[in-house]
């Protein structure tokens, strides 16, 4: 059922119920008034000579009578007694007048219980009987029975018809006045329905009532949902981008690796005797693949948040050892001397273990990967916990001074780094630079004495 009809019907029913209740109460009240008036009429009649006439001729009193009510109410009131008929009885509720009705037993019971006035309404509530005990208790006119019509019962048309008319009026007024409310609710409904169609349109809020509050609540929910959707879309796009970039970046070294392996197979098929060095490029490429995946993971983590997700105390001596051990096999195959020195005491530093290891790994990997055969790479950790320096020194080709700032720039954009440095070159150093910055470390590139590159990660407590 529509709101407007429901509202009108509810108001109509409420009005009818209220009016019927009022009708019933009014009817009860009128009924009581009528009993009082009839009792008063009985006393009045007997006081004004009725007793004498009745006792003089009880067999015929009061004589032929219609409904009487002409007698005026004594005193200043202009009220008339209700029209009624009257019958006289003795103290035993017997009448001398044979035309009189039998005294109603229910009234006799009430008077016998000690009441001076007893009343009773007929079951159809259309007639009232009142019995009044006179102040004397001897004679044939000791008790008077009065009968009168009305008042109308509460369920009569006289009561119900105005109630229905008023209710009808209320329903009409409700239908008319609910119009603006219904219109606003419809507007709100339309606005909310548009949310499903992904509309950017805000929910319009008019007025300052409950409907406006509902609209405001919907608008706030819309904004929250909108923000969450935007965040989800962003994450989805980042994920898609990550998968696409990862696939692209992995395909390249994978193709190179396949090329190396095919070339090896062709050389073997051609009867060529291969030495161990022949497989080094393939091994190097496979190691690069693993490292690339770690870097892409690190890049995704760096892009996903500011700062660091973890800060645990890290044993830098062991971290350096681990990174060097990781690159020693490839260095050995490339006949590059990879050496490491850590201090006797342990240097602990709070940071993200995976990211720091990846950063140092990238620096060492670059030093090994781009070095020549018989080259050197040295990794040195020195200092104390409050001030330490980690150097990766190589005698490889180095990086031109003009390119160094770009390589270690702080802002990290994985995609940009990839496109600018084909085959992953530079991505590793970008990650290292970003990780260093997040850890409050200074990353510096310089020339190695005699040629090559020195990458330095430096920490000083007073700097942070």
């Amino acid at each position: 059922m529509k709101l407007r009809a429901r509202l009108a019907l509810t108001l109509g029913l409420a009005t009818i119920s209220l009016l019927v209740l009022l009708g019933w109460a009014q009817s009860r009240w009128h009924s009581r008034l009528r009993v009082d008036a009839l009792a008063e009429a009985a006393v009045h009649r007997m006081d004004s000579g009725g007793r004498e006439r009745c006792e003089a001729d009880p067999e015929r009193w009061p004589g032929p009578q219609g409904d009487r009510g002409a007698a005026r109410h004594p005193g200043p009131s202009r009220h008339r007694f209700p029209r009624h008929r009257v019958f006289a009885y003795d103290a035993g509720f017997q009448s001398r007048n044979p035309d009189n009705p039998t005294f109603p037993p229910e009234l006799a019971q009430q008077l016998a219980a000690g009441q001076d006035v007893a009343s009773h309404r007929s079951p159809d509530e259309r007639r009232t009987q009142v019995a009044v005990r006179m102040p004397w208790d001897q004679g044939p006119c000791t008790v008077l029975l009065l009968r009168a019509k009305g008042p109308p019962p509460w369920f009569s048309g006289a009561v119900l018809m105005p109630a229905f008319l008023v209710a009808l009026a209320v329903i009409l007024v409700a239908l008319f006045s609910a119009g603006p409310i219904v219109r606003r609710v419809r507007q709100l409904t339309e606005s909310v329905q548009k949310l499903g169609s992904n509309s950017e349109e805000p929910i319009r809020v008019e007025g300052n009532d409950e409907i406006a509050e509902l609209g405001t609540a919907f608008e706030q929910s819309r904004q929250t949902i909108h923000a969450q959707l935007a965040s989800l879309r962003e994450r989805e796009a980042a994920l898609r981008n990550y998968i696409a970039n990862t696939s692209h970046d992995v395909m390249l070294p994978l193709s190179v690796l396949q090329g190396h392996l095919v070339a090896l197979q062709q050389r073997i098929e051609a009867g060529e005797t291969l030495d161990a060095q022949a497989v080094v490029p393939s091994i190097e490429e496979s190691q690069y693949l693993g490292s690339l995946l770690h870097n892409l993971n690190a890049a995704a983590r760096l892009e996903a948040r500011e700062g660091l997700a973890h800060r645990d105390p890290i044993d830098l001596n062991r971290l350096v050892d681990r990174v060097v051990d990781r690159h020693r096999p490839i260095a050995k195959r490339k006949r590059i001397a990879l050496e490491v020195a850590v201090p006797e005491h342990t240097i602990e530093f709070p940071g993200d273990l995976t990211l720091l290891e990846q950063a140092l790994g990238n620096i060492v990997q670059n030093a090994v990967r781009y070095n020549r055969a018989e080259g050197h790479v040295a990794v040195i950790l020195d200092g104390v916990e409050d001030a330490w320096v980690l150097r990766v020194v190589d005698d490889g080709p180095g990086i031109a001074e003009s390119d160094r700032d770009r390589v270690v720039e702080h802002s990290f954009r994985g995609t940009e780094a990839r496109t600018r440095h084909p085959h992953g070159m530079g991505l590793g150093l970008h990650i290292a630079s970003d990780v260093a910055q997040r850890h409050g470390l200074r990353l510096a590139l310089s020339d190695t004495e005699g040629g090559g590159l020195t990458v330095e990660l430096r920490f000083a407590k007073r700097d942070t």
Partner: protein, 222 residues
């Protein structure tokens, strides 16, 4: 002590490769492929435990906890997940080290050997490096040519190198440890002391290696 190494790894290809690598390196690998089988083993029966974290039937971290309650045997974690929280948790639970997949067989061996070296030389009074014996308490050095007469600086240099035998020691670390900062504590001065030390070591001087970019190392020799 035996050379038994427990390998808990569910991947057949990787597990076989590791077993081959360990065998070739002179270890006696015992390979179990699932957590349930590994749970019943006695950790003290092995010198090192190599434990994969992702195992069918159990999580490697639970095994690690179980082993750590019973034993101090070095545990090396094999981790495929590049997850800092996992590594840190494993280290906090008592793992000695971890190796992230993919890895070269040599890398795994190096980490295992690092685990085995861990009971270090702290508290040792006499260190033997090849043919060179360094008595830290008596401050004496004996080589194939007999007892050497070293200056305090030369002894400090050799003692530090002996304590870190096989490992390169940075020039700056040697300068800090052996030279008097109120005098000429520089790399150049260090090189002069090293030159003198080499000549005093005579035929054993080959054990004192110069390490490019770093400094020096005292090795066991050939």
């Amino acid at each position: 002590m035996s050379n038994r190494i427990l390998l808990v790894e569910d991947d057949l290809a990787l597990g076989q490769q590791v077993v081959d690598t360990l065998s070739q390196a002179g270890f006696d690998p015992h390979w179990v492929q699932d957590g349930d089988a590994a749970r019943g083993l006695e950790p003290d029966d092995y010198r090192v435990i190599v434990l994969d974290l992702m195992l069918p039937g159990t999580y490697g971290m639970d095994l690690l906890k179980r082993y750590r309650v019973k034993s101090e045997v070095p545990v090396l974690i094999l981790s495929a997940r590049d997850d800092t929280a996992d590594k840190i948790r494993a280290l906090k639970l008592g793992a000695d080290d971890y190796v992230t997949k993919p890895f070269f067989p040599e890398e795994l061996l190096a980490r295992i050997q690092a685990c085995l070296r861990r009971p270090n030389l702290v508290g040792t009074e006499r260190i033997v490096v090849g043919t060179i014996q360094v008595d830290l308490k008596r401050r004496e050095v004996i080589t194939t040519e007999g007892a050497l007469s070293l200056t305090p600086v030369e002894f400090e240099i050799l003692a530090l190198l002996a304590r870190r035998k096989g490992s390169a020691v940075a020039r700056d670390a040697l300068v800090d440890a052996a030279l008097d900062p109120s005098h000429d504590a520089s790399r150049r001065t260090l090189d002069v002391h090293m030159s003198r030390l080499r000549s005093k070591l005579g035929s054993d001087a080959a054990q004192l290696e110069t390490v490019w970019g770093i400094g020096y190392r005292l090795s066991e020799g050939s």
